[in-house]
Amino acid sequence: MDVSAFAVPGAGRGILDVVKYRYLLRLLIRKGIITRYHGSVLGWVWSYVKPAAQFAVFYVVMGLFLNLTKGIESYPIYLFSGIVVVNLFNEAFGNATRSIVSNKALVKKIYLPRELFPIADVFIALVHFLPQLSILLVVCLFVGWVPTPLGLLGALLAVFIVAVLATGLGLLFGAINVAYRDAQNVVELILLFATWTSPVLYSWTMVRDQAPTWLFDIYMANPLTSAVELFHTAFWFPTTSETAERPESLWLFTLIGLVIAVLCLIAGQLVFRRLEGRFAQDL
């Protein structure tokens, strides 16, 4: 018998199938955006309030109490351009981790490439990142920021690295989370660390001066570190007197960060595919 006409039910090609389902992906993203602030009076204003509150707390504590405003020129912009990157990562990674469990009803009833759910969440996080990015742009322009093509390219690359990393880790922990809900607690820990293990609140030079070289290299190889530094290069640095020290091989570390992010994506996809067969019965 000719078996080529037959398909194996439930055997997809993983994230490659998402291209085929792009219309559904679009609808899922739309649904996520529409229903996000459903029933709240302020709605999208929350997307501005949350980063603003975070900024205020960090600015007062780190900038004023711990005197970082003296050490880092135009510290508010430094701080905010880092916060938006880490927020994007936290939002994308956190939601992607919970996505399979929160789409339980669908996962149990109908077959579709389950990668769609974490990926849709990463895109939704990207949409919520836009208001924050626009505030950053407005503030920067206000203080006389002149964008450079290389800087903007770097910022785009940073967003790409963060999105790939969050997708990879989201697939990995999202799949584990189905059987073991501990995963989402582990992720919350990782997210807590994410803010502090990249140069968001302080300068990278403090790590260089305190840590041994090998530790500093690991620190710099963190994809989030290079993403944050790329944002600093694009938005903060041009608004200063440009005398601050910049990390030497930033582009090399960016490349390393990109490779790590892609490896995470591959690992995430492999684990996801391995565990996927049990999703419907474990949920």
Binding site: F6, P9, A105, L106, L112, G277
Partner: protein
Amino acid sequence: MRKTSESPLPRIIIEGVQKTYTLRHSNSFKESFVARLRRKRTSTSFTALNDVTLTVHEGEAIALIGYNGSGKSTLLKLVSGVLRPDAGRVRTRGRVAGLIEVGAGFHPDLSGRENVYLNAAILGMAKEEIDARFDEIVAFSEIGEFIDTEVKHYSSGMFVRLAFAVAIHTELDILLVDEVLAVGDAPFREKCNAKIRELVSAGKTLFIVTHDLGMVSEICNRGIVLRQGELIFDGAMPEAIAALKGSR
């Protein structure tokens, strides 16, 4: 490639399929770890399907019957791809659409219109197909002007009618139905049955899981009886119902 006109390719092949559920007793790393330390079993297994083999051809309307826990829904989920068999193989030819608990993809905060698009896309339809069939779907559901109202304001009957209308209008070769026909009021149920009969006479393959023997004996031309995961009867409908009654 060999083409035989007298015996066209089947639509569904199920060969020696086995499905065992492992029921894990723990839901956290800690629980699994402690259980392992105490040498307690962390899971029990339960065979839902054992060595089931059957072939379904084009235009067949199959009723899958059996008492609770006989493995009917598991078999349907294996065909839809939600579950994977532990042994044996399942193959399908053509587009499979599931009327499995319609409304699983409905979001209460979205309007009827948005839900139609979302669910049709979940069932594998492209935007153009949905656009083309949208009016037909709304007409079938009898929702009328409420189509732009949020679904959470619908009565349960309206909800089910809309969900069913979406599922039944998807482009399909194989239709899987799980216990959904018991919904809606009598006139709507009659309308659904008529629509399903129309699909069968158009050469679509139908695979229904149900307890409503009266309805399936009207629609289906082949009955398969499962008992505790084993296929105990495969043949004409009246005999299948007799076999089911005798299987208790």
